[in-house]
């Protein structure tokens, strides 16, 4: 019953929004949730594990983490979070998708059909970089970053093409691996698996306005 107890506490806190640290959600259905939660805590915001639509209330931002996008997509449909997150986003809620989160944020995929959030005008090639033996680390030049950022790519996707309103901020060759819209950020790699928190700071500052 620990889960219910936690939920009551967070519900009370959302009633007094301007007090205490800002609350940022991490979609906690499957995948590398813990890493994002730990980094958010280190950066002085209050992490909220999002499992239900109600958990989205009063959040200053939402991270959709890495994991298996088919699994996360399926559970999102069943729990109503697919529509819940869309509505959070279209009311201006800031969202950051890493890896599977980038797949889910896209409006279309080159592969088989799967549930997508469709938050960004982009065509995604899921597992575009290939199977696990081709997973890699690489130092990337990111628009707005002074020094390179080490991207950890795990069976990673990339955007083949993006539409108007999407700003490309990182590439591997001609493949788009980081992009930004008005209230959305996507990365094909995993900043949460490194000790470099610049992307989390970037999301909180540039996208969430914290």
């Amino acid at each position: 019953m620990a889960g219910n107890g936690e939920r009551r506490v967070t519900a009370r806190r959302s009633d007094r929004e301007d007090e205490g640290p800002k609350r940022v959600g991490v979609l906690a259905l499957q995948g590398d949730v813990r890493e994002h939660v730990e980094i958010l805590r280190r950066l002085g915001v209050e992490p909220v594990e999002v499992r239900d639509v109600e958990d989205l209330e009063g959040l200053a931002g939402l991270i959709v983490p890495g994991g298996e996008s088919t699994t996360i997509g399926k559970i999102m449909v069943e729990s109503g979070l697919l529509d819940g997150i869309r509505s959070f986003f279209y009311k201006g809620g800031p969202v950051w998708g890493t890896c599977a989160g980038m797949v889910l944020a896209a409006s279309a995929t080159t592969g088989q059909r799967q549930p997508l959030l469709g938050l960004m005008n982009a065509l995604v090639d899921r597992n575009g970089f290939g199977r696990q033996v081709y997973s890699f680390e690489k130092d990337l030049e990111i628009e707005g970053f002074e020094k390179p950022f080490t991207g950890i790519f795990i069976r990673a996707p990339f955007f083949e093409d993006v539409g108007p309103g999407v700003e490309v901020i990182g590439k591997v060759g001609d493949r788009i691996v980081a992009a930004k819209g008005e209230n959305i950020l996507v990365t094909a790699f995993h900043p949460e698996l490194t000790d470099d928190h610049r992307f989390h700071e970037y999301f909180l500052r540039e996208v969430c306005g914290l």
């Binding site: 019953m1 620990a2 889960g3 906690a28 259905l29 499957q30 995948g31 590398d32 949730v33 813990r34 890493e35 499992r51 890495g66 994991g67 298996e68 088919t70 699994t71 399926k74 559970i75 890896c99 599977a100 592969g111 088989q112 899921r126 597992n127 290939g130 199977r131 696990q132 033996v133 081709y134 997973s135 890699f136 680390e137 690489k138 130092d139 950890i152 790519f153 795990i154 069976r155 591997v172 995993h190 698996l193 490194t194």
Partner: protein, 298 residues
Amino acid sequence: MVDNGQSTGTFRVKSGMAQMLKGGVIMDVVDAEQAKIAEEAGAVAVMALERVPADIRAQGGVARMSDPEMIQGIQEAVSIPVMAKARIGHFVEAQVLEALEVDYIDESEVLTPADEAHHIDKAVFEVPFVCGATNLGEALRRIGEGAAMIRSKGEAGTGNVVEAVRHMRAIVGGIRRLGVLDHEELMTEAKNLQAPYELVRWVAENGRLPVVLFTAGGIATPADAALMMQLGADGVFVGSGIFKSGDPVSRAVAIVKATTNFKDPKAVAEASRGLGEAMVGREMGDLSEGEKLAARGW
């Protein structure tokens, strides 16, 4: 390997792959059709093998790596990661699986061991490995050899969760114990555990394994899966439990639901409704010593 500024096969890339599987269910499948059922049910990965553990037990004989044709058929059928098993110590089976580009290799006690003293040197491979463990020392030895993911062994193919519980409690309890030891006690504990000192110290300082810890062996019901998650597993392998049951499609979906909502008894109750017959289970006392798979591994 470094090519064009891209490094493949680093430990971060290997262990990171397992991080992405957390909170998920990995299902044993023997053909493309079962793999599709697993993917459709929400599995985060499938384990491709010719016979599920219950059949290996029933049929006996030497159990080996699966036919590459069957593994490739499964790789073509699904978009989720495909894992496959190599025999303990059989590094050529592992080389073959790497050449097939499977996403993870399980150096598994479910297959007949090829080496009675040594495990595969897993650090030299680009593809990551998962290994079974019955206690903390065994888990740390496997990580020392390069395993990027650990799973409890349990007794595969029995439909009886008791051994998985024993192993998970031993690993998690061992981790907790390290946390209360003084610095000078750690070397002695490393000796007792027969584990590398550096890893023992890391676990003592961080309160967890340096890699993801899944559970496996005997999980047959949604409640079994939720039990193992509450005991501290990051995710669940289900072997014979799904496709040896009366209604594999419903059971696969139900075990995924119970794993996602493992802290919510109402959700586990809902997932457990009307699933038909679970696989037939076996009592540990009925197994002869030779039938116990968890003792394989050194």
